[in-house]
Every structure is written in structure tokens, then in C-alpha cells.
Symmetry: C2
Subunit: 240 residues, 2 copies
């Protein structure tokens, strides 16, 4: 059973997506929405907060909730999302070539620099080349920690890891930390990505389950000329 506030948030997001509420429009007021959805105002507010943090709306006191411009220029793709999901969402028609899929007792060399804390963890080493229109775009190097991941069927590596984790294994993927840098790569990666020099954009991430178990380390090497990371951010009220 989905929470009522999530259902409402999803419904409003869909209506914004399908231009039932257009950028610049005001949503119905919170009281009206509460009537519309037959719920309390606090529940409506929780739904609106979800849209707020996604950058779909902006709330203006005394006036209402205005739909923001999410088209053309901005296109937040950050978050914890798999390549397969992005591919589907953006209609990229990408293909995946599995280069490596092997069980290991310790972390492959290339990962140690970025994830030294997992040096002696057992897991599954997975390397996949992502191609768009036949051109190499990204090299995804994953290390799936065991536990909690016992094994990866070959066709899953080819398709969607996240769908397998969430729907087959019932894992609750929750959060990630990411680090974007520019690095020098070796000849192998240079050739795989058809780079003109030895620089690539590296996105290194640690991915966690809802119970704080770390389950995935990823090194994503991107072609610098194709890399683009778009983000929506709100000014923090809390100072760390």
C-alpha cells in the first residue's frame, strides 16, 4: 500500500509532466487540494514538499504553489538512478556490452584508490560498456558486495541490475554518495571509450540500502565531450 501523500505527489507530478498544470500556473491551493483528494491539509503539504525538493514547484507564501520550468535547459538527472532507468526515461536507445562478470574475494586494484575501506571485501566484479548509436559512451565498473549480493545472473548484468535488486531480491535501495572528478585513464579505458587523450570524467559512488548496508561501489568513466550532469538544488537552511 502506497502512502496517500506519495500517491498525491505522483499524481501531481504526472499532471505537471503532461502539462495539465503548466509552468507559471498556480496549483490549486492546499485547502482545495485537500478537498480534491479527500485528505487533510498536512498530507497535501507532505506531497507538495516532495515536488518542492524535486524542483517541480515553488511555494510562495500568500500566493500559492507555482509550477516551475523544467524544460529545455534544465533537466535534473541526478539522484540514485541506474543507467537502464535513465535509458528508458530519456529514450536513449542505448546498448550494454558486458566485459567482465566474476566473483572475487577482494576488491580489484582499480577500485582500491577510491574505496580503500572495502579493500578486502568479497563481491562480484562487473564491467559494462554503454553504447549509444554504436558509440562507446560510458564504462561502468561495479563491485557488488557479497553480502548482501550473492550472485548476478548473466542476463541481469545485460539488462537492469536495479530492477533485479528491487523486484527479485527485494532490496530497498535508499541512498548514495557520489564524487565527480576528472582523471587520467589507462590505455585500455582510453581505447574502450575511443578517447582522443587520456582524460575521462569519473563518477565514483557508494550505494546503500535502507538499513545502511553498503551494497554497490561504482566507477563510471565518461567521455568528457559527452558528459553532462544536471542538478537542482535548494539553499540549505541547516548549516553543517
Amino acid at each position: 500500500m502506497q502512502a496517500k501523500n506519495d500517491i498525491i505527489a505522483q499524481d501531481l507530478a504526472n499532471k505537471i509532466r503532461h502539462k495539465i498544470y503548466e509552468p507559471g500556473d498556480f496549483l490549486p491551493s492546499e485547502n482545495q487540494l485537500a478537498d480534491l483528494y479527500g485528505t487533510s491539509r498536512e498530507t497535501i503539504r507532505k506531497a507538495l514538499n516532495a515536488l518542492l525538493s524535486l524542483g517541480l514547484i515553488q511555494k510562495i507564501r500568500g500566493k500559492g504553489s507555482i509550477v516551475l520550468n523544467l524544460d529545455r535547459y534544465s533537466f535534473p538527472i541526478s539522484g540514485v538512478t541506474s543507467f537502464a532507468e535513465l535509458n528508458k526515461e530519456l529514450g536513449m536507445h542505448a546498448t550494454t556490452k558486458v566485459l567482465t562478470l566474476e566473483d572475487r574475494d577482494n576488491l580489484p586494484k582499480q577500485f582500491i584508490e577510491y574505496f580503500p575501506e572495502e579493500e578486502s571485501s568479497s563481491g562480484i566484479h562487473l564491467e559494462r560498456l554503454r553504447l549509444i548509436n554504436g558509440e562507446a559512451e560510458v564504462l561502468d565498473c561495479d563491485y557488488l558486495l557479497n553480502p548482501p549480493i550473492e550472485s548476478i545472473p548473466k542476463q541481469v548484468a545485460q539488462a537492469s541490475l536495479y530492477q533485479y535488486f528491487e523486484y527479485e531480491l527485494g532490496l530497498d535501495i535508499s541512498y548514495a554518495t557520489k564524487e565527480i572528478t576528472v582523471v587520467e585513464v589507462d590505455e585500455r579505458i582510453k581505447e574502450l571509450l575511443s578517447l582522443s587523450n587520456n582524460l575521462a570524467v569519473l563518477v565514483a559512488s557508494r550505494n546503500y540500502l535502507a538499513d545502511t548496508t553498503k551494497f554497490q561501489l561504482t566507477l563510471s568513466y565518461h567521455r568528457p565531450d559527452r558528459f553532462k550532469f544536471v542538478d537542482f538544488a535548494r539553499r540549505k537552511k541547516i548549516k553543517l
Copy 2:
């Protein structure tokens, strides 16, 4: 008057910062916190949600709220934050050299490719070189839109734009969209940043006030070998 839930969130964040609650510890339960702070549980939950989205804690149903590991490896610096704020927060001892500060009737050429929608907007063109230990690190090129920004005193350009906007002008800085790419730069930028080739990391952002007024366009050119962007992200429940 600060909202009670913000005060509580700030207080808990401080206690986590100062290791009163350490990574791996559980916070007091929501009911206990409600008693401690003399407030209702829903207010506590709003405070905890702020810490959740910052990546400071993880809530586990049936168990409690556990403090996450924010040290060593991860260090979320994303969001809508000015260089002066980062400088202070991280103790970087950076200096700023103002290269350009002039009123304009239209957008400078270099901005048009990234912000075509503002081509004929008047504003203030500001270029600042950020140095750390005397070495050029970042070139920040800003265009402050007029309105809402009328003018920038020279010493403000030297110090903190955001402090001036928020405390002097009373502007309510609210959100931003950012785009990170790798670009080829011209000779001028190459020399300013002492680049060995003509590649730089570009962070282009549009910054908005709470009433959705766009007030700042920024092009930040970073040395690739020094650039690092760290982010914390939660898996989205809402599908766009």
C-alpha cells in the same frame, strides 16, 4: 523567529557535527526527542526529515534513526552555496581577485551559449579569479541580473556576494539549477588557470529567489585536476 523544527534540526546537526551523536549511534527515539524539546512528534519528524535529506541520518523502521558516516570519504558540498561560504566552511584560506566589474545592457558573449534566454537582459558582469595558496583554482564569471540587482559595491565583489544579497538587500535566495560539463576554453582562461591543455570543468548555474525571480547566472571554470564535486542523493520515490 525561526521555526521550532528548524531550530531542532540545527541543534541535532550541531550535536552530530560535534560528535555528541557519533556515526553508528542511534538518536533518541522520536517520542523521546519530542519530550526533550518539549514539542510534538510531528515537529520532531520535520526536523529529522531535514537531516535525512542532508544525509546526516538514516531512519530505520522499528529501530530508530542512525547517524551516518559523513567523514573521510564523502563530503557533500553541493547545493546553493557561494565560494565565500565554502571557503569559510572548509577553512580553505582562499583569496579572490576581481578581474571585471561592469554594468551592461545585454549578456556578454561568453554567456549566451549557456543562457540564451537572457541574451538581451541588462545586468552586472563580474569576473573573479579564486586562488588557493596563490594558485589559480577557479574562474567565476557571474552575470547579476538587473532587476533585481541594481549594483555591486567593489568591496562586496571582493568579499561575499551572497552575504550582501541576503543581509543588505534582504533577498531570499532559494534554489538553482546546475549543469556540469567539460569544455574547451580560450587562451585567456587557459592562462588565468595555468592549464596544461585547453580543457576545463564548467559549472553553469541559474540562481533564483524565493519568488522565482532569476537573479544570477554563473559560469565557473575549474581546473580539471583540482575539481571535485561531492553529492549525497536519495533514491526518488516519484517518477517524472
